[in-house]
């Protein structure tokens, strides 16, 4: 019995040391990670809403992350929002840009994904992304209809297409019917 206790104590000590080391590495790196995340958010908003000067968050009850892009005169020039859904290997997060005047999608930027490198990950490549630029908000968003999947990555492609459809509908609903 004494031996078991000694083993458990030894294991506990190792675990505590590990936990301590990790907590400190984490506290050291997490500000940098947050900074990277914020920078990415900024970059992605400016990327999907070309021509804006600044942006502000549009608070809503649904917890959807929506930003209004403002041009140099302070008028609303577009909408950017974060869409999140399940992909093939994990969560996919996109920043989608909408042009409110023409009721079209500007495009999207992939914020986060865990799709297979070289395959599902190609949803981040221009060839696939291009299909969504200038797409009307009322399109059907279906593979084989108005979207061509990435070869060998049907599931990832479908995930994006479905996510776009669902999120566009949701944003239209939240931001205000009729706009």
């Amino acid at each position: 019995m004494g031996k078991s206790v000694k083993l458990i104590v030894a294991l506990a000590i190792i675990s505590l040391l590990s936990g301590g080391v990790l907590a400190s590495v984490y506290s050291f790196t997490s500000p940098k990670m947050e900074e990277v995340a914020l920078q990415n958010q900024q970059n992605s908003i400016f990327e999907v809403l070309p021509g804006i000067e600044s942006y502000r968050e549009f608070k809503n009850d649904e917890n959807m992350i929506i930003f209004e892009g403002l041009d140099s005169r302070g008028d609303i020039a577009g909408l950017a929002y974060v869409a999140e859904g399940a992909g093939f290997q994990g969560k996919i997060r996109l920043m989608v840009g909408l042009d409110l005047d023409s009721k079209k999608i500007n495009g999207y930027k992939v914020l986060e994904h865990q799709e297979t490198p070289g395959l599902g990950a190609r949803i981040d490549e221009e060839a696939f992304k291009q299909q969504f630029s200038e797409k009307s908000l009322t399109d059907s968003f279906k593979l084989k209809e108005d979207v061509t999947a990435v070869t060998g990555a049907t599931i990832s492609s479908k995930a994006i297409t479905d996510l776009m459809k669902k999120s566009v509908d949701e944003v239209i609903k939240i931001y205000g019917g009729g706009k």
Partner: protein
């Protein structure tokens, strides 16, 4: 001299991928592009070197019965550190390698070297062993990645090399391509070298 021997054995004669068939999961999974293979190899090498050094330093302090869980904690700690550092300073690589960074924890090579070598040798030799194995793993993965990328995407490290008329053999960046490429590489290596592959312990 012995130090040199410990260092270079991982490069060819005891190459973890081609000789010992260890660490197969990442070898097949993240080699669909050369840069992915290289990044994975380096990340694994980092963890391998750190864990070999620490395990060698504390080998007398950890009771025999809990040495495996103990080593696992040490390895998992370094993997987490690698993950956090990548996420903070090289976020693009971290995104690409994704799930396979934490899977370095259960990469046979690391536990295998910790238990089989670092727990029985001094720090210097353990470090050299790890460096050799790490480089061996890295070049194997990078080679596999280069071949699969050339055939499957017509490029090396993103630079197109095959010319406009080349139709990519997409199968090579898909799962079957991984198996086939590695199989053929093993065939070539086994044919040109006098020693055969010796399957590492963790595979049996």
């Amino acid at each position: 001299m012995r130090a040199w021997k410990e260092l270079i054995k991982g490069l060819w004669s005891e190459n973890p991928v081609f000789r010992m068939l260890m660490g197969m999961c990442p070898t097949l999974a993240v080699t669909n592009a050369a840069v992915n293979g290289l990044a994975m190899g380096l990340a694994t090498a980092f963890v391998l070197i750190c864990s070999n050094i620490i395990v060698s330093l504390v080998k007398r302090l950890i009771p025999e019965e809990i040495r495996i869980p103990g080593y696992i904690i040490i390895i998992a700690t370094f993997v987490t550190i690698a993950d956090l550092i990548l996420a903070a300073y090289f976020p693009d690589i971290q995104k690409v390698l994704g799930l396979f960074i934490p899977l370095i924890v259960v990469n046979c090579i690391i536990l295998g070297r910790a238990e089989g070598f670092a727990s029985k040798n001094n720090v210097l030799y353990s470090a050299l062993d790890a460096i050799g194995m790490g480089i061996g793993f890295t070049w194997a993965l990078t080679l596999l990645g280069i071949i699969r990328e050339i055939l499957g995407m017509g490029s090396i490290f993103g630079i197109p090399v095959m010319g406009a008329g080349f139709t990519e053999w997409v199968i090579f960046v898909l799962p079957p391509g991984a198996f086939i490429t590695l199989g053929i590489l093993l065939w070539i290596i086994n044919s040109i070298s006098k020693n055969k592959t010796v399957e590492g312990d963790c595979c049996h």
